[in-house]
Each structure stands twice: as C-alpha cells, then as structure tokens.
Amino acid sequence: MALQAGEIHALLGENGAGKSTLIKIMTGVVQPDGGDVFVDGRQVRVGSALEAQALGIAAVYQEPMIFPDLSVAENIFISHRDRGRIVDRGAMRRDAEAVLDRLGVRLDVGEPARGLTVAAQQTVEIAKALSLRVRVLIMDEPTASLSAHEVRRLFGIVKALRGEGVAILFISHRMEDVFQIADRVTVLRDGRWISTRPRSEVTPASAIRDMVGRTMGDFFRRTPTRPGDVVLEVRGLAREGVFAGVSFTLRAGEVLGLAGLVGARRTDVGLALFGIAPADAGEVLVDSRPVTIRSPQDALRVGIAYTTEDRRQLGLVFPLSIAANVTLPTLRRYLSRFGLVRRAAEDAVAQGFKERLSIRAPSVRTAAGSLSGGNQQKVVLSKWLNTRPRVFILDEPTRGLDVGAKAEVHQIIDELAHDGIAVILISSELPEVLAMSDRILVMREGRQMAVFDSAEATQERVLAAAMGQLATPAVVV
C-alpha cells in the first residue's frame, strides 16, 4: 500500500487482521520478515523507534503515551536531542506555543500533562510529532475515548495537518469516522492486503464485505445439544462508564458467544458477572433466583466460573504444582479437620482432570508454569470445572494457542455444553464465535447491539453490528 503526502488514509480490518503489526513495523518496534518500506521513494530500514523518528514517522494511540508529571511543553520536546545539553525553558515555552498555534489549539504549556483530558493529551502528542517534522502520522483508534465534540476538534486538527502535507494513516473501528474524514480506504484481512479504494467508491457494506470472509474450514463443528432450563438471566446489566444495557438469557447446555471489536467491553461484562468489577445496575438471576455478585466468592457460590483472557498474569500460580492450582478455588474441600491439605485427595482429583482433558505433564506435581500454553489452559479449565459451575465464562480461551491446542479446547467447550453447563464464550475471533456458539451477542463500545441465532449469524452481519452498521434491528431476547 502507498501513503501519499497530504492524504488521510483509513486502515480497516477485523481483530487480528494485522493492523497493529503494521504500525509496529512502520514505527520500528518490530522488524518485518519480508517486504520493503519506502519513504519518499527511498528504501529504508526502520530499525528502531529512534530511526522512525528520524524518518518523520510518528504514531498517536488511543491511550496517549505521555509523561503525566512533565509539563505540556516538556512533553512536546521530550524527544528532541538537537538543542544541546542545557534546557532553555523560555525558548521551549515559546516553541511549544508556536507548534500548538499551528494546530489551532490553546493550552497552558506550563501545566503538567496529568490534568489534561485524553483529547488534549492526544493533541500534545500530535504537537510533539509536528515539532519533529513529521511526514507520516499514524493514528491508532484516536477517537475511541473521545466525545463527539472532541472528535470534531480532532478532525479539524487532522485536516490542518493534511493541509501541511502530512500523510496520515487513520485506524478506526468507527465507520462513521472513517467515512467522514478519509480520502482513501485500505482493508486488511488475516494479515493480507485486500483492497485500497477512494472513499467515494466505498460503502460501509462493501468495506465490511472485504473485512470478513476469513476461512472457517478448520473450525470445529459443534455436536447438537438440546438446551435445558434457563440457568442465567441477565437484565439491563451496567457498570457506570464501562458498559450498559446488557440483557440475555442462557440455558443449560447452550453456548452464548460474545462478539465485538477491541474496546467493545465484552471482558468487562464477564468481570462483572464474576464479581471482580461488579455491575452497578441491572439484575442477574441464576436458576430464576435473583443474586447479588460483589466478589468472586459470591460468583462461585452461585456457580459462576470465569477463565481470564490473561492466562499468564491471572490464570495460574506458576511455581505451584498442577494439583495445587486445580484445587485453589476449592481448597476448603481438601482440608482435613485440622486445616491441613489432604495431598492424596488433591492429587487424585488433579489426576482425574489430567486424564479427562489429556493434560500432558510428567505428573500432577509438576509446576504449572513449566507446561505449554495449551496444557496450561487445560489446567485453568480443570481448576474451574472442579468448582462444578452452572455457568462457565470463557474469556479468549484459545488466545495464543497453536492449532492443535485450539481444537482440543473447542472439543472441551463442546463437552461442557453436553454436560449441561451454560457457557459464555468471549472471543475476538469471529470464525471461532460463529462455529462454537448457539447464539451470538454483539457488543460495541459498551452497548449491546444485537443477539443472533447461530442460524442467522454470518460474519458479515456480526461484524456490521460490531461496527455499528446494523442492517437488522437489534433483537432483544
């Protein structure tokens, strides 16, 4: 793909399409395995962030990367190495104000950046890029945390930059942003370039068509189950400033997929149901009885289990044995009258799971941290299965696993449904959600957009809902 001076070029793609990796290559954070990068027709190698800076490539992210305790002016000039060793504060203030002027922005450059709004912090980052004579400005989801008013101002700034001849690569999940500001639109899918077209030739529907169509051939086929009684009912669940209006019912033996793009707040719904970050409005009913879930202990008591997307940080105690990890949430069951751990009972239950889920390890006394990712995930699943959950929330259960391990986890999910467990599957992989779920709840920026039956769900429809381009009215179940 080519970026022209003075154009705003939108980059679209589903989760995992390769947008972030492309940014990392352009800004020198990672090195490409193949292919070439040219700046002004000259082939270059972007070996580091410093080299990217020298080439005039800069990036602004959704969450600004600023130094909160430094002033606005200091943040703008933090990367300058061309002014000798002594800081001339007066000159720095004047120059900072001059740069902000070019953007048509007024800020007190002496203020610490901490007190600024996200929008103002982004402006500081753009000013920083401008002061470094930026040629290519990459903006990764810059509007995700902004209000409508702030978005308009940001677009004003972006257009001013375009007027100065800067090439802008604009990445966003918000179709309306893209169609409002982009001159051209490029779509990536599965790490490949799919299309580049002038905006006038693109419609939301055509863009989504280009984005979907990932292959489903390798994916697991569910064996049909007959859903049982309603186990979980959620009405108007909300957490202030995070998500709102989430409602669904879930039957025993059903798999409900939670689909959405990055920032859709699906994980937050899971965390609310598990009591880590409790909801502050709405009702949760388990077996038709209203329950209050304020802590993981509450969740476990009513039979809700949750496996985290961050297996490394939150899933397992690595130095502990497989057995000790498996029994951690239920340790009380394995204590003798005097509070001592009954190792034999603990080993026996872990051994049972080791065989049932075919965890490949020398023994159940092996340290959990020494296992492969797939086997670690199976230990995590064992740990929660051992709580005998009614509702099992699986957050990105196959992330980072190889193909074989993924298939095994899919097999396990299918078996859970067969055993009458109600499963909530949070996954960023659209084909996975479609293949595994009986119903699919689509979220976008903390709001429930639609619920599809697996029969009526297609990648296109789910993605359209996730991007706010709803073809069909939201189904409220």
Binding site: Q297, G315, F318, P319, G339, K383
Partner: protein, 335 residues
C-alpha cells in the same frame, strides 16, 4: 542426570547446610568445647526471642509483605508488662494485656496494608516509630526491674533438663510454623498471595483476610517474644529490642525466602538461624569485633539475594526452560 545434581546443589537449603557444616567444623576444631551441647544451647538462648519472631516474619515475607515494626512491638509489650506492674497489675494480667496489644498493633498494620492497600514498607515503618514512641512515652528512659521471682526464673534458668522455657517454646512454635506453612491450607494461601495476588483474587481467595491474619500473627508473636525477652533480661527500658528487626529480616532472607514473596521454606529459615548464630559466635570466639561480624553477615545476605537471581539468569540464558522468575523458585512445585 547432571542437571538433577546441579538442581539439588542449587537448592538453597543444601547450600545453607554446607555453609553451616563448614562453620561448625572450623570453629569446632579451632575452639575446644565449642560443639559442647551446653554451648550450643547458650548460643541459641541468647537470640531465642529473635528466632521466635523469625518464624512469624517468614509468613509475612512469604505472603509478599514486610513488617518492620516487630522489634518495636517486642519493646512495647515488654514495657507494657513492666509499666502495668508498677501500676499494681499482676504480671500474669500484664502479659495477657501485652499479647492483646501486640495483636492490635499487627491488625493495625494489616488494616492499612490489606484493606486500604498501602505498601507494608511504609505502614510498618510508621509502626516501627509509633510503637517505639508509645513504649518511650510509658517509661521514659528509666529501667524497670524487680519482677517476681517465678517470672525471672522462667526466663533465666533451665526449665527441663538443660533447656530453658524460651527454647522449648521455640521448638514447639517451630514445629507449628512448619506444619502451618508447608502443609496447611493457610500456608498454601500465604504462598499464593505472595506469588500471584491477582491469581489469588481471581480464584476466590480472600486475599485481605490472609494478609490481615499474617500481620496479626506477626504482632502477637512479637509481643510474646518481647515478654520472653523481659523474663530473660529481668529488666526493661524504652529502647529494649531496638534494631532487632534487621537481624530478624536478615535471617528470613538468608533462609531463602524471596523478598518478593511466594517462595521459601521453613527448613531454609531454621538453617539460616543456625548459620547466623554460629557464625556470630564463631567470629566472636575468633576475637572478631561486632562490626566485622555485621560485615560478614551483610555479605552473606547480599549473596543470598544475588546468587539465586544469578543462577536464574544463567539458567534462562542456557534455555533451561521457564522464565527467570520461575527459576528462582523451583521448590514450590514440591508443595
């Protein structure tokens, strides 16, 4: 096979045992009568209160925290018994009051750390100053003695055979602490909370409760050790037990308990106590000054922190599996 031997050698307890053997053999040859049981008992007796607190401190550090206020709690509890005696309160009642105050001190520390979420380093540093201040307020810089005969006898004379009370208390507590840390559900929670507090929280472990309990235990045990110290010394002043916290923390860390929490064993800690005491004694017998003793122990402590990390770094460089963190703490997998 070679790898297994390497692992066993690297196990901290093995290393400590080797160091202890060297110290004992060298001193035993150089100083006649050193290995005499009575000498070993005397040696232990002189630091027995510290050794008792080391047991509680092990739990604190395993759970990923630190308690700097222990020596001040020891001093405060000893002073409290003495002050109450002056007010006409029987020593028996005074001891109970001291234990209660110790528990309150520990709970106070634990409240700020576990419930409010402040760093224990800061909270217990405040405790170190505050509890010591309370002791000084009660008695000023006077020395209070004149305790009942039975109380002094308990502290100063052998109770059973050659063993004084404090030593037997230590033995009982050592067994109890070992069982609690290595075999009980509570011990498991302490390791988990120290190793991965977030995993613990996500697993429904009541992290706050575990930390509160650990700090309360540290307070009670310190207060109890303060009373034993009072009985042995026969008199107390506001500055009693000042500076003990450094020796106590040194013994725990030298025992292989990671300052980052989540690893270490009671076996290592008891070996470390023996190493420090014998090293001190041996050096003293060799006419080394107190400063030299402190220097040698300081060097050992630095080594105890450095060596496991260097080994871990070397291992991960050799690609012997796992992250650097995982390699520092191979023992826990035996749990």
């Amino acid at each position: 096979m070679a790898r297994d031997i390497f692992r066993r050698l690297v196990r901290w307890e093995g290393l400590l045992l080797a160091i202890l053997a060297v110290i004992v053999v060298v001193t035993g040859i150089a100083v006649p009568g050193y290995l005499n049981p009575q000498n070993q008992i005397n040696l232990l007796e002189l630091s027995i209160e510290k050794a008792i607190v080391v047991l509680a401190m092990t739990f604190v550090i395993v759970s990923g925290e630190i308690d700097l206020s222990i020596a001040s709690v020891m001093g405060l509890s000893a002073v409290l018994v003495a002050w109450l005696k002056e007010q006409g309160v029987p020593v028996e009642v005074g001891i109970i009051a001291a234990l209660l105050v110790g528990a309150l001190c520990g709970l106070f520390n634990g409240y700020w750390v576990a419930v409010i979420g402040l760093p224990s380093l800061a909270v217990t540093l405040a405790g170190l100053i505050g509890y010591r201040g309370a002791a000084l307020l009660l008695v000023g810089d006077r020395s209070i003695g004149g305790f009942p005969e039975w109380f002094n006898r308990l502290g100063q004379q052998p109770l059973l055979g050659p063993f004084p009370l404090a030593l037997m208390v230590f033995a009982v507590l050592l067994v109890g602490a070992t069982v609690l840390l290595q075999f009980s559900g509570f011990g498991r929670y302490a390791y988990v909370v120290g190793s991965s507090p977030e995993v613990a929280r996500f697993s429904g472990v009541r992290v706050r409760r575990v930390k509160l309990a650990v700090f309360a235990m540290s307070g009670v045990v310190s207060a109890f050790a303060g009373v034993l110290l009072l009985a042995r010394l026969g008199a107390v002043r506001g500055s009693t037990a000042e500076g003990f916290e450094l020796d106590i923390i040194t013994m725990v860390l030298l025992g292989g308990v990671s300052i980052f929490g989540g690893s270490g064993t009671m076996a290592g800690v008891i070996l470390s106590i023996l190493v420090v005491l014998n090293l001190r004694n041996g050096l003293a017998l060799a006419n080394a000054t107190g400063n030299t003793q402190a220097g040698v122990i300081g060097a050992l402590l630095i080594l105890s922190v450095l060596v496991p990390n260097l080994v871990a770094a070397a291992r991960s460089r050799l690609g012997r599996g796992g992250s650097a963190e995982a390699a520092v703490i191979p023992k826990l997998s035996d749990l």
